[in-house]
């Protein structure tokens, strides 16, 4: 028996607003009709690496066990391949639900700590907001500095190979009019 089996959940662990709010997000509408068949988990190429399978994420979300879901690595391991979504017999937009969970985890600061994927997502978000384009090499370096500084040394041979074959943009690629982009994104902050 793992610790999981003895880890009980009580009424105070439940946030009844959680499922309601996720179901109100684009893609969350059909969550109610999940029959827990496990097709999503079976189809997912990442599920063997997940602490909770996609099916369990849906069950726990509907039960309102917000912390279990948002502290899980599962939404972050979702690579958005949409295989679960295409195969779901109840037309649940599972991938879109995972996105809604990622955003909520960031909003609530509940994503798993020292986990590189949300760090990458937020670094990417900042890079696009300020430059409008992604420079792969810069993003990788920022990610490494934040999560695994020694990893940069290990990446060096690959970086040199990309440089030699002309497959690396060294500077920051950017749009000509970042102010136009900024105006657009800022205007969306206003309600």
């Amino acid at each position: 028996m793992g610790s999981e089996a003895t880890h009980c959940r009580y009424a105070e662990d439940v946030n009844p607003a959680f499922p309601v709010e996720i179901m109100a997000k684009p893609g969350g509408e059909a969550l109610r009709s999940c029959i827990q068949c496990g097709t999503c988990s079976g189809a997912c190429p990442m599920s063997v690496h997940m602490d909770l399978t996609p099916r369990r994420v849906i069950a726990l979300t509907r039960a309102g066990l917000e912390r279990d879901v948002l502290e899980s690595a599962t939404p972050w391991l979702c690579a958005s391949c949409y295989e679960c979504q295409v195969r779901c017999p109840r037309d649940i937009k599972v991938t879109d639900v995972m996105y809604a969970l990622k955003r909520r985890a960031i909003e609530k600061g509940l994503y798993p700590k020292r986990f590189p994927i949300p760090v990458l997502a937020q670094a990417f978000y900042r890079m696009i907001a300020s430059h409008g384009r992604n420079s792969e090499s810069r993003l990788v370096i920022e990610l490494m500095l934040r999560t695994n500084p020694l990893g940069i040394l290990r990446m060096a041979p690959l970086g040199l190979k990309l440089l030699r074959t002309g497959r690396m943009v060294v500077g920051q690629d950017r749009v000509k009019h970042p102010e136009q982009l900024k105006a657009m994104l800022d205007a969306m902050e206003e309600s």
């Binding site: 391949c81 949409y82 295409v86 590189p116 420079s135 792969e136 074959t165 749009v175 994104l185």
Partner: protein, 288 residues
């Protein structure tokens, strides 16, 4: 002939440069014009959507608005760009509150979008617009001796399956046959490579990509072809590490379908960016 509003996306000036080069060469050879969307911005990829949904849709829509001004169909070669731009159109139609927010942002940027842009992937254009017959007519060097594993990955076909089956796609198989190559049965052809997980969770990325390469080799493929810059990079650049990690050779050339098309058209390997590939064993031409 036809012209397209070209959306190269960020990867095609970096990791995916050989894709950009071979795509331009093949399209020019077929008399198709590419006009780059002026001052396009990053599509937002998978990461932006993880932080802000409305802004992610706005980023994509800005590009659609710019393309709409050009009155041309959008050509998006990267699978992630293709999906994000397509998805934005669906979200704008299905979720009016998000659409309202996006239009508010566009207006502040002096833009507007009426919703008329159409987004195409080059594989769709080549097979459904140009067509297998016109392609066959251009072939001067059929791909004899090529045993190709056709790898579609995920986001070009899912979730919408706009131009091929989302689980059992066929178009790339057909194209390779037209080019004179032998296509191997490749049941994992639509299984995800993990995308950016190779950069964040290398253990997982290595395993996913190793399984894809191992299957191709077990099916006796001597080259694997892709339609997406991230798939190509994941499958090609880490072969040495996979071989070490799993104790079995993961060595296999991984090239863009446009590179193979160019070779079949008799174009120079260098014009197709083949000198930028890391792995160029036979059946690919020897690079000087």
């Amino acid at each position: 002939m036809s012209a397209y509003a070209y959306f190269p996306g960020c990867s095609l000036s970096g990791l995916g440069k050989p894709y950009d080069e071979s795509l331009r060469a093949v399209f020019a050879h077929l008399g198709l014009t590419l006009q780059e969307i002026p001052d396009w911005n990053c599509c937002g990829a998978t990461s932006y959507m993880s932080v802000s949904e409305e802004k992610a849709v706005a980023l994509a829509t800005r590009n659609l608005a710019l393309a709409e001004q050009m009155k041309l169909e959008v050509l998006a070669p990267c699978s992630a760009c293709y999906l994000v731009l397509t998805k934005a159109q669906h979200v704008l139609k299905e979720y009016p509150p998000i659409a309202a927010k996006v239009h508010q942002g566009l207006e502040a940027a002096g833009l507007s979008y009426r919703g008329t842009a159409s987004v195409r992937h080059p594989l769709d254009v080549l097979m459904n617009q140009v067509g297998p017959q016109a392609i066959a007519a251009r072939i001067t060097a059929p791909l004899t001796g090529y045993r190709v594993a056709p790898y579609y990955g995920c986001q070009m076909i899912r979730p919408y399956g706009s131009f091929d089956d989302p689980l059992r796609p066929q178009l790339l198989d057909t194209l390779m046959t037209v080019l004179g190559a032998q296509v191997v049965d490749y049941p994992v052809k639509a299984r995800c490579c993990g995308g950016s997980l190779m950069g964040t969770m290398e253990e997982i990325g290595l395993r996913l990509n190793y399984l894809l390469l191992r299957e191709a080799k077990a099916r006796n493929a001597n080259v694997l072809t892709t339609v997406c810059p991230l798939c190509q990079y994941n499958l090609e650049a880490y072969q040495g590490q996979m071989t070490k990690r799993f104790g079995e050779s993961a060595h296999l050339p991984v090239v863009y379908f446009t590179q193979l098309m160019g070779l079949a058209f008799g174009l120079q390997p260098k014009a197709l960016g083949l000198h930028r590939n890391f792995v160029t064993a036979a059946p690919l031409p020897v690079m000087a």
